[in-house]
Symmetry: C2
Subunit: 344 residues, 2 copies
Amino acid sequence: MSETTILSMEALTRRIEAVFRKGGLSPQHASALARVIAAGERDGCKSHGVFRVEGCLRTIKAGKVSTDAEPTLHDDGSAVLRVAAGGAFSRAGFELGAPALAERAKQLGLAALVINDCTHFSALWPEVETLADMGVAALAMCPSYATVAPAGGTAALLGTNPLAFGWPRQGGHPYVFDFATSVAARGEIELHRRAGNPLPEGWALDSSGQPTTDPTEALAGAMLPFGSHKGSAISTMIELLAGVMIGDLTSQGALDFLGTTTLAPQHGELILAFSPERFAAGRPGDPFARAEIMFEAIAGQGARLPSQRRFKAREGSLADGIALTAAEIGQLDRLEAQGLDAVA
Amino acid sequence: MSETTILSMEALTRRIEAVFRKGGLSPQHASALARVIAAGERDGCKSHGVFRVEGCLRTIKAGKVSTDAEPTLHDDGSAVLRVAAGGAFSRAGFELGAPALAERAKQLGLAALVINDCTHFSALWPEVETLADMGVAALAMCPSYATVAPAGGTAALLGTNPLAFGWPRQGGHPYVFDFATSVAARGEIELHRRAGNPLPEGWALDSSGQPTTDPTEALAGAMLPFGSHKGSAISTMIELLAGVMIGDLTSQGALDFLGTTTLAPQHGELILAFSPERFAAGRPGDPFARAEIMFEAIAGQGARLPSQRRFKAREGSLADGIALTAAEIGQLDRLEAQGLDAVA
């Protein structure tokens, strides 16, 4: 019996879509979610791949996400476009808003897309990549739930608050970074716990607010921001811009709303888009060509550009298919057969 | 004989202005520079205070900055305003562009100010604070000169590339952060060298690209970004957005242009402004009131909000005056008497 099953990107997307249809999602949402989860799996990004399907179903079963709200785009002609997600998953809202955002950025030089009242579980790189493919640079951010203490603090207040950026590159993958503003992901702490390994210094506090290297204590306490007070300041900025400024939940608000970190967080999202052509107009040099010189200088000294491992995995997946383990296939089978009955 | 001289903010500003007039700056630039340098001194921010005067004069003497170019504002009605600084110091250009930026942000929700062809030596907090006082949140960034290696690299390519953010707070100082994206400032490495102390691990590389804790080796090599690959990615983004995208010099370009890090760097600057009222319109909650809840939660667990030490120093300076040492007063006397002849 084969240990792994190889699926094409399209076949994997259809399988996940079928699971979500069985779980009660409308065709629009089932399709949007399936595509982004398959993209995570395709890119070797297991933490945002098939692994996420069950969490989405759990969030549906808990009644914490709308299964069929149709996102609506509100455009007052300004630099700020708004998608009302109506409590549904964010992806369909992003797909609705992204082309309008790119167009507005090309028209005004700079524009923002706000997604309100969405449940967001995916990475941000699919969003900045989509926008880079449309020819604009993009900066995306959102709160999460309160699991990270501010630098110098003692208790969880901030989220892992991801920040992602994309810059278009002609004839290749865009320059993309996407990272949590916590020093480590919660999943990494869990992996240390399972392996019985202590955490590196500086990752976490225990429940009394003291530094700890014990993963169990850390899971009951709080994570720490990356880069000490600098990362903490950036994470706070994300709460302000992509939480309070857009009139959506902060990480503390999202945790209060859900009462748990085992469901996908509800909040909003802020995406800025920049038209390099518009910004560079009338100035010397082509911005895309000048950016390549910088990328070559970085790579030329042996430093890795971000996302290269993901792009390499993608190329492999598109050439050879995506390998799922027997356990992963079994889980999809079970979820497709039983729907929400299969999740706790 | 008194060890220190106490000056009012106004008197200190006038003294510095007189030095710059003697050094050949036009009244507009002498006044703009004097005010921002006095503000640094007022805030106890010695590295951006009177200490900077001589470096500005050195840059003038080297012919690397225009002494009298009048900044001009270019407004095509889009979300991107542009100030052509004409090779002069950036401050007069910022002062010209800031009110227009805040107004455009209030009109469109979001706007950007590009300052091109400027020489920039000041901190970014005066800029985001000015904008916060005008009621908008602001995010400012600029390249510097190549003194920082990308994470995983071996040689200087990025600048110390500061990132600053301001959020308006009613009835108090704004929420402000402003930091270099290098793990430490170059001045801190110099202080370790003078004190004969080794550097902490992770601050720097030597000239062969190997990690070093020797400050002298570090000064001949490269600094490292804060937060490892995350800070490196943010610093690269600043090169892209505030260098190549706006058609101005990258940190490598600035170093090539000057041939030294002892003069103030020439490049451009990018400032984004957000209108919280516009972003929050139609959404539940007042963004300013909600932000206060977050600030109170941070401070309530004993974590310091950024810039508090600076604000405290400012309150002391405004109440009691600004104390300069006999050496600092002597330097201002000498520079005012001899002008550019007093600098190397």
